[in-house]
């Protein structure tokens, strides 16, 4: 990678981070919603720990994994919205007319997202400590959580970029939020898959890749180092990222042809 490309990506990554960090209405849901849902669900669903086969006595340790996925989902919306706003205001077109290499247009944005993803993972780890979640894998596990959190945010955000590039509308990107959120609801977010007794729900959760991401985070909190869960979690994150990047490449071609 040439020095000029690194500079270009670095500048756009910095802009991407600052754009999110300086807007309270983008930061608020990232912190507030996962926190409030964790606190409410951890209390309301504590009785689930009484079920035979439930893997831990602490529901908060079980549920904290969902906060990382919710945070990544908000990254998706924020990234998509920011990119769509750049398209709406013409900033993206002006950037495309400069000598910047095309790959840096999106790479800069996504590097910024990865950095923000790591930062929000740190926030959720601290939140977990505050509400009494026990990270069984210890300090090393915390580092893995941060890496997986960053990778997940990156993978999800690539789909936000696709939505923005295809629609060019921030309103349309925001409208996709419920669609993405359904994936969290129809996963093993509230109970382990072995305790999903409704057959159709069990099938959907088993096919839903979000289940494996959640289980990757969760394994570090309640089992320590579970190689299978971690491999599946990282596998899904990397798979989604590759899929997202391919879709971004295709959407970029169409977007730049239009301009």
């Amino acid at each position: 990678m040439s020095a000029s490309l690194i500079t270009q990506v670095g500048s756009l990554a910095q802009r991407s981070m600052l754009k999110t960090l300086r807007q309270p209405f983008q930061m608020f849901p990232i912190i507030f919603f996962p926190a409030i849902l964790l606190i409410i669900n951890a209390s309301g669903l504590h009785a689930a720990t009484l079920l035979p086969g439930f893997p831990t006595h602490s529901y908060v340790s079980f549920a904290i994994a969902v906060a990382f996925i919710q945070g990544a989902m908000f990254s998706l919306i924020n990234t998509g919205t920011n990119l769509a706003e750049d398209i709406e205001t013409g900033f993206f077109n002006r950037l495309a007319l400069t000598p910047l290499r095309r790959v840096s247009l999106i790479a800069g944005l996504l590097v910024g997202v990865a950095a923000l993803g790591a930062m929000q993972s740190v926030v959720y780890i601290l939140l977990g400590v505050l509400v009494g979640a026990h990270l069984d894998a210890g300090l090393g596990g915390a580092l893995v959580v941060i890496v997986l959190g960053s990778l997940t945010a990156l993978a999800f955000s690539s789909f936000g970029c696709v939505a923005a590039l295809r629609t060019g509308s921030s309103e349309a990107v925001q409208g996709l939020f419920p669609l993405f959120f359904v994936f969290i609801f129809l996963s093993s977010s509230n109970l382990p898959r072995s305790l999903l007794k409704t057959p159709w729900f069990h099938t959907v959760a088993t096919w839903n890749p979000i289940s494996y991401l959640i289980e990757g985070f969760r394994s570090l909190y309640i089992f320590g180092w579970d190689q299978t869960a971690l491999l599946r979690g990282f596998g899904v994150a990397i798979g989604l990222l590759l899929l997202g990047l391919l879709a971004v490449q295709w959407a970029m071609k169409t977007r730049l042809q239009r301009t």
Partner: protein, 296 residues
């Protein structure tokens, strides 16, 4: 736009007041309408029915409005009733109609309140687009504006609750209560539509922007989720048990679950709370309407 202009024309009159007094009849009307028509349109119900027609017409014709209000309750129903059905086996959980019915009541009452909230969004959007301002100028009796939007909320809720009930029955939900109990459940849901609407309309009339949306949604969302959503109150432990014990939403859920199962629980308390909240939020809405009038 055609609907909006038509609705604004339908509620047009010569004076604008919240006092409820009928405006003086114009000496002559250039429109081909009958002589009684302008006066009828300036009454509370005349204004309300025109707004309700326009609101329902818009709702039905715009899928981006209708689909989220239908999809969200169904997602909650699928996620909670399907994904958490194992909670029906927790020691101490004893609900005669089963876990699907237990969660259905939560989803039904939540959908009812959110139908009211979404209508608050409509009011805010109408202010942002300038339509509500024209409506306020045209309405002979502006209390009819609030009443009209309340009718919109009830109609939207009827559609949503019918769909949610249909899906729950298809999913095999059991009902062990009788017909009177079910009537009571839907009557409670109707009251909660008005509670949700009253809160959201008051906010919408005061802020007149869709950016006030989180202020409409978040308190209701929190109050609902700080009740025994997943398991009955005796199975909650710690701070949430204390909060849920004094939360009126607990009475609504207990009553609803009692009605669907035929084992009544806090039914009278739930109705009293709902009616009291409607009274409080009616005042809140009417004072918001005055604030909107003052703002021009």
């Amino acid at each position: 736009m055609g609907d909006e202009n038509e609705a604004a024309t339908n509620v047009s009159a010569t004076t604008h007041t919240t006092s409820g007094e009928p405006p003086p009849t114009p000496p002559s009307s250039p429109s081909p309408a009958t002589p009684h028509e302008p006066q009828a349109r300036s009454t509370v119900w005349g204004v309300a029915l025109a707004i309700a027609w326009r609101g329902v017409h818009t709702y039905v014709r715009r899928p981006e409005l209708a689909i989220p209000s239908l999809v969200f309750p169904l997602i909650f129903l699928a996620s909670f009733a399907g994904g958490l059905s194992a909670l029906g086996g927790v020691p101490g959980f004893d609900f005669p109609a089963g876990y699907t019915a237990f969660q259905f009541v939560f989803v039904l009452l939540q959908a009812a309140m959110f139908s009211g909230l979404f209508t608050g969004f409509t009011i805010a959007f109408d202010f942002e687009s300038g339509f509500a301002r024209r409506l306020m100028l045209a309405a002979g009796n502006r209390r009819g504006v609030a009443l009209g939007y309340a009718l919109v909320a009830l109609t939207r809720a009827t559609i949503t609750l019918t769909v949610v009930t249909g899906v729950a029955l298809l999913a095999g939900m059991q009902i062990t209560g009788d017909g009177v109990d079910m009537f009571g459940l839907y009557a409670l849901a109707a009251l909660l539509v008005l509670v949700g609407f009253g809160w959201a309309a008051g906010v919408a009339f005061r802020f007149r922007t869709i950016q006030a949306g989180p202020l409409m949604q978040t308190p209701v969302f929190l109050i609902l989720f700080l009740a025994p959503v997943f398991v009955p109150l005796p199975l909650l432990r710690g701070w949430i048990h204390s909060v849920a014990s004094v939360n009126p939403a607990t009475a609504f859920l207990d009553a609803g679950r009692g009605l669907i199962s035929g084992v009544h629980n806090h039914t009278a308390l739930a109705y009293i709370c709902a009616v009291a909240l409607i009274g409080v939020f009616t005042l809140w809405t009417l004072r918001g309407l005055l604030a909107a009038e003052r703002a021009g």
